[in-house]
Symmetry: C2
Subunit: 281 residues, 2 copies
Amino acid sequence: MELYFTEQQTDNQRLSVRVTKTLHHEQTQFQELTIVETPQWGKLLALDGFLQTNDVDEWVYHEMGAHVPLFTHPNPKRVLVIGGGDGGMVREVAKHPGVEHIDLVEIDGRVIETCKQYFPQISVALTGNPKVHVHVEDGIKWVMDREAEYDVIIIDSSEPVGPGEGLFTAEFYANVYKCLTGDGVMVAQTESPWTNAHVIKRAFGGISKSFPITRLYTCAVPTYPTGLWSFTLGSKVHDPVDADVHARFGDLPTKYYTPNLHLAAFQLPRFVQQITEEAAK
Amino acid sequence: MELYFTEQQTDNQRLSVRVTKTLHHEQTQFQELTIVETPQWGKLLALDGFLQTNDVDEWVYHEMGAHVPLFTHPNPKRVLVIGGGDGGMVREVAKHPGVEHIDLVEIDGRVIETCKQYFPQISVALTGNPKVHVHVEDGIKWVMDREAEYDVIIIDSSEPVGPGEGLFTAEFYANVYKCLTGDGVMVAQTESPWTNAHVIKRAFGGISKSFPITRLYTCAVPTYPTGLWSFTLGSKVHDPVDADVHARFGDLPTKYYTPNLHLAAFQLPRFVQQITEEAAK
């Protein structure tokens, strides 16, 4: 018998990954949660049928989501991660010795608990790290209720449908702005330029309404549709392409991020550059 | 009825693209040639079951394969393209006004003829362009028989199995070196760092045996396995990262390549950098 996990990446394209074992399957309060064992990507987490993370390539997304904003801010001490219940983003943030306090705000506690069980190397920082504070709460409300608390905010959302939808609005980004300190930096995952240009336009446009510096950067995630993935960074003061990343990098252990790649990631393919130009209009 | 073209990308992963019509299918002297119409990628060419090119994303691969070596060499006049029977690489080379002579050497004449029929916008430069000379011959023999004839050689091969296999050997690269002028530049497509690190090591190691400057760069091709694709560039004199690309770019029309992206493409993810370091040992 051959088993495949198949993601309907678009209406007209499917990615199928061979499965050796289904480890976990449940309908949580918010979404369908599936964990399977695969020869290609190790253990793999899907939410509502979309691949979220896996043992083999998870560090691409997590390193690029965390280190770019954390090396853009000159001295980040307090960091908020919204979403990201697998803990991978928090693990990367916790590698920065200057960071003193990390809040993880994830709406679905079942994601946190199952990832602790099945992805110990991704969720490692969620357990026994005194700097890390885990809150099972709605990130949209969290940023409504706070002000000037964080140096960096990372929005590690799922797709802009279902529980992730409210994390792509201009109102939400305005509240993120309010929660940041005077020279704070935010970053949000903003999908693929090939299949979700409208998501990038909406996010980039929304972020640039609040933040004077708004920049898109990309990384290459093999398990995400089209393989080309975008983050949009909003900053009050510090420009990510002028950041002193080489001096600050030190010997931080990475598999994807490097200081040179930090700067290179903002050099966009022309068609992606055009998406941001249309969004900024 | 739902029809899908399915590529077995690895032993454990498949990409399936919805098909509205099968336009052409034949077994040539060298390989199985399939052309289908798809809603996602327009018309799509597969050889031996592997996606080669399509209407929607073809310019990523062709622009990055052609413009990086052509802007690395300060004044390319004579260019050889090996493989690339679809004509996309030749089309991009022909955009450079200083280029006077382009030889395309493709072993399978059926690829050329069917692409002229079904991909007119990719194969456009193969017809009626006095600078372009099409030869249905074996590229391996072509470079054996010539010396110091080309400023730039582009190896646009299929996978290193079947007819493409001999285009990944150190002996072949040594003959490419011999066919280049004194400051010549070559580039070869060298597959995905995720699934074909051994191909990169073999090509990078082979090229660096002949060429004093050997550098890997990447681009993001959605229809190729993992989406992250590599080229390996060998150069006798000119370093691609020191090239005066901004001054020379002019108003050359592109959708992916930009002078900034040319330089950024050589800034590798750390795990890819490590593959090249192991290859250079």
